[in-house]
């Protein structure tokens, strides 16, 4: 096992825009690190540079204490699981899993022992003599994992390994990968575009956008203390509602509505007072708005907005609201904009709500949980 250090890593293809820009951080020994971001953010490129499958334009990459910029992938002692699994179609499951050991010149008896052990852990023992084409998607994914764990490498690299599975299997495999990583204690980098995977699997999560690091933190901190507008909107589903607002003393003006901010907010965000009389961006998570008629309103500020759409999901009800303040774009290229130019706020309401489209809703907003961002830098105000 080893730590992985990236020090001002850059990747430029030809004369074009840099794919990775000055990436610096350390992944600790045994840590499960997730790279997440929208398509084209550079997360796979960063992973492939750690793997040695992409050259590093500048900067220094260390695995353990060794600089590996110019070390061949085969000599980096790291295993990779590909999105397509990349199983060798002409080899049986046993031969697939044994292949890295065979290449490393491990004695035959030991290969057999280690392949059988990996197969037992991954419940593949019955399928060892089958070819990959005869396996289901989930089994293929396990074989790819088997090929990685059998080597006992310094680190695992996983490039969206669950994206080809159906939703149910994905949830199951997600838990299995985490369990396996915890039991083996191998440093792992896991690339995904799915923020639910990122939040549920990673010890820490690296959020990337357009080749630049946005934030590295624990999943909980990403959610509660996002560094900027992009991270705030990217983490959490549905996305945080972001509006232009202005602060007047303790009064936050959001379109025609006014929210009086509690002292606790100014205590936790001392810089916020300096924004009095200025514009700022306010972020409201869908789970911090509810129907004022059915919720306990202590600690909540009340505003009103017309309901445009109600989606009852059983355990909760998504209510779309036409807030009359200017919407702020989080610049997530993958974000699906509902309703075209007419952006609506989304609230995750209690299923007891009686609201219907067309109603004017009285909303309870958890004022203590509001997020604030500078409109110029788009960074969080703390």
């Amino acid at each position: 096992m080893a730590s992985i250090q990236l020090d001002r890593i850059n990747k430029v293809y030809g004369d074009r825009y840099p794919a990775i820009h000055d990436l610096s951080f350390e992944i600790e020994d045994g840590e499960f690190m997730v790279f997440v971001g929208p398509s084209g953010c550079g997360k796979s490129t960063a992973l492939r540079m750690v793997a040695g499958l992409e050259t590093i334009s500048s900067g220094e990459l260390k695995i353990g204490d060794k600089v590996v910029n110019n070390v061949d992938p085969k000599d980096r002692d790291i295993a990779m699981v590909f999105q397509s699994y990349a199983l060798y179609p002409h080899k049986t499951v046993r031969e697939n899993i044994a292949f890295p050991l065979r290449m490393a010149g491990v004695p035959k008896d030991e290969i057999n022992e280690r392949v059988n052990e990996a197969a037992r852990i991954l419940e593949l023992t019955r399928h060892l003599d089958r070819k990959p084409a005869k396996l289901s998607g989930g089994q293929r994914q396990r074989v790819a994992m088997g090929r990685a764990i059998v080597r006992r490498p310094q680190a695992f690299l996983m490039d969206e390994p669950l994206s080809n599975l159906d939703a149910k299997l994905r949830v199951q495999m997600r838990a299995e990968i985490v369990k396996l990583q915890r039991s083996l204690g191998v440093t792992t980098i896991y690339v995904t575009h799915d923020q639910v995977e990122a939040m549920t699997m990673g010890d820490r999560v690296t959020v990337l956008k357009a080749g630049r690091l946005q934030q590295i933190d624990t999943p909980q901190n990403l959610y509660t203390r996002p560094a900027n507008v992009f991270v705030a909107a990217f983490i959490g589903s549905p996305s945080m509602n972001l509006y232009e607002a202005s602060l007047d003393g303790v009064d936050l003006r959001l379109g025609s509505q006014v929210i009086t901010l509690p002292d606790a907010i100014f205590a936790s965000r001392p810089s916020l007072r300096a924004y009095s009389g200025r514009k700022l961006i306010v972020g409201i998570r869908p789970e911090d708005i509810d129907d004022a008629d059915v919720t306990d309103k202590r600690g909540y500020a009340e505003i009103a907005a017309p309901v445009t759409l109600v989606e009852a999901l059983g355990a909760e009800t998504m209510v779309h609201l036409a807030v009359d303040a200017p919407w702020v774009d989080a610049e997530d290229p993958d974000a699906v904009v509902e309703g075209g130019a007419q952006r609506t706020a989304v609230g995750r309401f209690s299923p007891r709500t009686q609201l219907r489209a067309g109603d004017r809703a009285r909303l309870a907003v958890s004022a203590e949980n509001l997020h604030f961002f500078d409109p110029n830098t788009r960074n969080s105000i703390w």
Partner: protein, 278 residues
């Protein structure tokens, strides 16, 4: 039942068209075989008969006794086998690199290979003669192998690069992560996935060399004459030995037919490669 009739009719028309097509390919060869089996007296009868009145192996006996022919067959086999091996040795790695590491230069490289296929063989004959003369390779097996390889490589290159393009790049990357060098990944993982591509490229290279006439005529005279030249010599100033000529041609075609039948599975698999997602 009523709606089956048009279907049957359509099927019959397709079968008839297929039969016609097969006949148009096969007829000259059937005529060659039938002529080779005619007694010497019947070969040049006027009007000619399509089928022999009686089967005779007289022409085959003459051919086998013809001085130089068995040796020419051996030369043909050596030249064709060496050409095939050398062509694949050059073309397969080159095709792999141009297919997997697609750059402007590799595209140009493939385009150039295609262009060389468009140059008429006859216009290459004279420079090739000069080159072989300078190298002292006239009338040698190696000289003819090199000449045949120069035309077989572009074909094998184009064929193999099409096969390699169907291989996901992740397979090579996975092999490299699993401890292979780039060449090791090619040898252990990629090449074993290519039996059809290799079979087709080998067969086409072999046939191209086995059947080649012009370069063999220009570059050989005594020692390394191949069978097509010796067969053509049955037509000489002393007359046209039509019967033995057809018998020799039939014998000469047998190895190719045999190899094709042996590799049938790989060839058919290869011809439909990429047609459906595997």
């Amino acid at each position: 039942m009523a709606d089956r009739a048009p279907h049957d009719f359509g099927k019959t028309v397709i079968n008839a068209a297929a039969l016609l097509l097969v006949l148009s390919y096969a007829l000259p060869y059937v005529y060659l075989v039938s002529t080779s089996l005619k007694p010497a007296a019947d070969v040049q009868q006027i009007p000619p008969s399509f089928f022999p009145d009686g089967v005779s192996l007289e022409n085959f006996a003459t051919v086998i006794g013809t001085a130089g022919l068995p040796n020419a067959f051996l030369n043909s086999a050596i030249v064709a086998i060496l050409t095939t091996l050398l062509s694949l040795l050059i073309a397969v790695p080159a095709a792999y690199v141009s297919a997997l590491y697609r750059r402007r230069i590799t595209v140009l490289f493939l385009l150039f290979a295609l262009v060389t296929r468009m140059v008429p063989a006859v216009s290459l004959g004279v420079p090739l003669f000069q080159i072989m003369k300078t190298l002292g390779l006239l009338d040698t097996t190696i000289g003819l192998v090199l000449a045949h390889t120069s035309t077989a490589v572009p074909l094998a290159l184009l064929l193999m690069s099409a096969f390699f393009e169907g291989v996901p790049k992740e397979l090579e990357e996975a092999a490299r992560m699993d401890g292979c060098t780039r060449f090791g990944a090619f040898l252990h993982i990629i090449l074993p996935l290519m039996p059809s591509g290799l079979a087709i490229s080998a067969l086409f290279s072999f046939i191209a060399s086995w059947n080649e006439f012009l370069f063999a005529l220009l570059l050989t005279s005594q020692n390394s004459k191949t069978a097509p030249i010796v067969i053509a010599e049955f037509n000489s100033v002393y007359g046209l030995a039509w019967g033995p000529m057809t018998a020799a041609a039939v014998l000469y075609s047998l190895p190719v037919i045999l190899v094709t039948l042996l590799l049938q599975k790989q060839i058919v698999g290869g011809l439909t490669f990429g047609a459906v997602k595997g």
